[in-house]
Symmetry: C2
C-alpha cells in the first residue's frame, strides 16, 4: 500500500481515524510506523493527505489526518470492456484502478459467453476491495465507477452518452492503421481537455454489427500492431498508451 485509504465516514470532526484490521497491521508491521510518524493517507473519492500516528495499541492505530483542499482529478480515461472471463476480470480490477480509469463500463457482446455474467466477480463486495487495492497501490483516491450492461445495442445507442462524457472515443481494432498515440494527439488538438473512452472487445473481437454501431457513435478504430494480444494484456497495454499520449501518466 502506497497510501492508506479511509472512507469519509471513518474520520471524526477533528480528522482522527481509528484503524484496525489489515490497514492497522500494514502501518505497524510493514511501514513500522511509531507514534509521531506520518503515513500517506487518502479519503476514498476525496482528498489525499498525511496521517500522523497518534497512538498504537494491540488492535488499533489512531491517525490524525491533515487533508488537501481538493480531491485529485478523476482519471481522464473511461473503459468500455466486453465482459472478459471472470478469472481474467478478477485480475484486471486492481490493475484498472492502478493505471487510472474513471469508469468501467462492462458490456455483453456476441462473442461473450453468457455464463460470464453469472459470477461473483461482478458483485461490488468482490470488486470494490480489489479497486481499492489498486488505488492504494497507485496513490489515487478516485474509485472507478462500475456499470454492467447485458444489452450492447441499448447501451451504445441509448445509455453511453450518459455514462461517459469523453469527447474522444476509440475502439481497439486489429485491422485499424491509426496508432493510439496519433489518435489521442489528434483528439487533443481539437479539444485539449478531451477525455478518452476506450472500447476493448471480447477475446474473439467485436462482430461486424457491433463495430458498425460503435463507428456510428463516433468510435475511431485504433490499431494494435502486428501482435494479437489477450484481452487483459491488450487492455493494460492500451491504457498505458492512452495515458502516455494524454500526458497523464507515463507508464
Amino acid at each position: 500500500l502506497n497510501i492508506i485509504l479511509v472512507e469519509a465516514g471513518e474520520l471524526n470532526a477533528g480528522g482522527r481515524v481509528l484503524l484496525s484490521g489489515p490497514r492497522a497491521a500494514h502501518i505497524v508491521n510493514v511501514l513500522g510506523a511509531t507514534p509521531g510518524q506520518t503515513v500517506r493517507v487518502g479519503v476514498l473519492d476525496g482528498p489525499l493527505g498525511t496521517g500522523t500516528v497518534a497512538s498504537i495499541d494491540t488492535t488499533t492505530v489512531a491517525l490524525d489526518c491533515v487533508l488537501e483542499a481538493e480531491a485529485p482529478p478523476r482519471p481522464r480515461v473511461d473503459v468500455l470492456l466486453a465482459m472478459p472471463r471472470p478469472k481474467v476480470l478478477r485480475r484486471l480490477w486492481a490493475q484498472l484502478a492502478a493505471l487510472g480509469v474513471s469508469r468501467v463500463i462492462l458490456t455483453n457482446a456476441e462473442r461473450v459467453e453468457r455464463p460470464y455474467f453469472d459470477t461473483h466477480v461482478l458483485r461490488p463486495d468482490c470488486y470494490q476491495p480489489l479497486l481499492i487495492e489498486g488505488l492504494q497501490q497507485a496513490r489515487d483516491t478516485r474509485s472507478p465507477i462500475v456499470s454492467i450492461h447485458r444489452q450492447f445495442r441499448i447501451l451504445v445507442e441509448d445509455q453511453l452518452d450518459g455514462k461517459s462524457d469523453a469527447a474522444l472515443r476509440l475502439v481497439a481494432d486489429p485491422s485499424a492503421t491509426t496508432s493510439v498515440g496519433d489518435a489521442v494527439r489528434e483528439g487533443l488538438d481539437r479539444n485539449r481537455d478531451a477525455r478518452v473512452l476506450l472500447a476493448i472487445g471480447p477475446e474473439g473481437g467485436w462482430n461486424e454489427f457491433e463495430l458498425r454501431l460503435l463507428a456510428g457513435r463516433g468510435f475511431m478504430g485504433v490499431g494494435m500492431g502486428a501482435r494479437t494480444l489477450r484481452t487483459d494484456t491488450a487492455c493494460l497495454a492500451l491504457l498505458a498508451l492512452v495515458h502516455d499520449a494524454l500526458g497523464s501518466v507515463a507508464g
Copy 2:
C-alpha cells in the same frame, strides 16, 4: 491460438507434421478445420507459414506445411527483471512472450525475497509451455531466451554485455523525469537499429547501490509518472510504451 506452433523436429522432409493432443483438438474443435482447409502455423524459433489439413482421424491431424523463407526477426526488447513473486511471474510468462521480448534476464536484488528462487515457475518445464502460449497468441515463433541470476553484481558487471546486445539501456525509476518515449526516440536518433534492454526492479524498488551499478553500466532512468504500479502491471505498461516508441508494436 492464433497460430499452431510446431517444433522443427516434428516436420518430416516433405513438410508434414502429425499433431495429436491439444493442438489437434484446437484445429478440430475450435477452428473447425476440415481436410483441404488451411491454418496458420509456425516453427518454434523458425519461420511462419500455412498448414493445409491433409487428414483428420480420431486422434491425429496431419498438416502439410508451407513455410516462409525466413524466421521473423527477434523482438527488439530484452527485459532485466528483478525476480517477482512466483505467482506473479507465472502470470507474466505468456504476457511477456505475447508483447514481444527477446531475452528475459531474471535477477536477484536486495528487496527480492530469497524463497522466490525456490519455485517451479523458474523451471523450463513450467515456463516453456507458457511462453509458447504467448507466442501462439501473438503469432510469433521466437521464444524468449530465459536466464536466471542469483548475484546481481556479477550479472551486471560481468555477464550482462554477453546476455543482451541492446544499445539502449533503460531502468524504470519512479524518480526519473525522462519519459520512456523520449528516451527511446533519442536512442533511435543515435542508432536507428538500436535494441532496448529494459530493467524493472522489485516491488520495493532497486536500492541505491543497485541503481548506481545500473547507471554505471549505461542504464538511463525513465519515469513512471505519478502513479506507482505493481511490478507486473508496470512491466506490461512499460513494454507497451517501449514497443510503441520503437514502432515495432502499437500495443
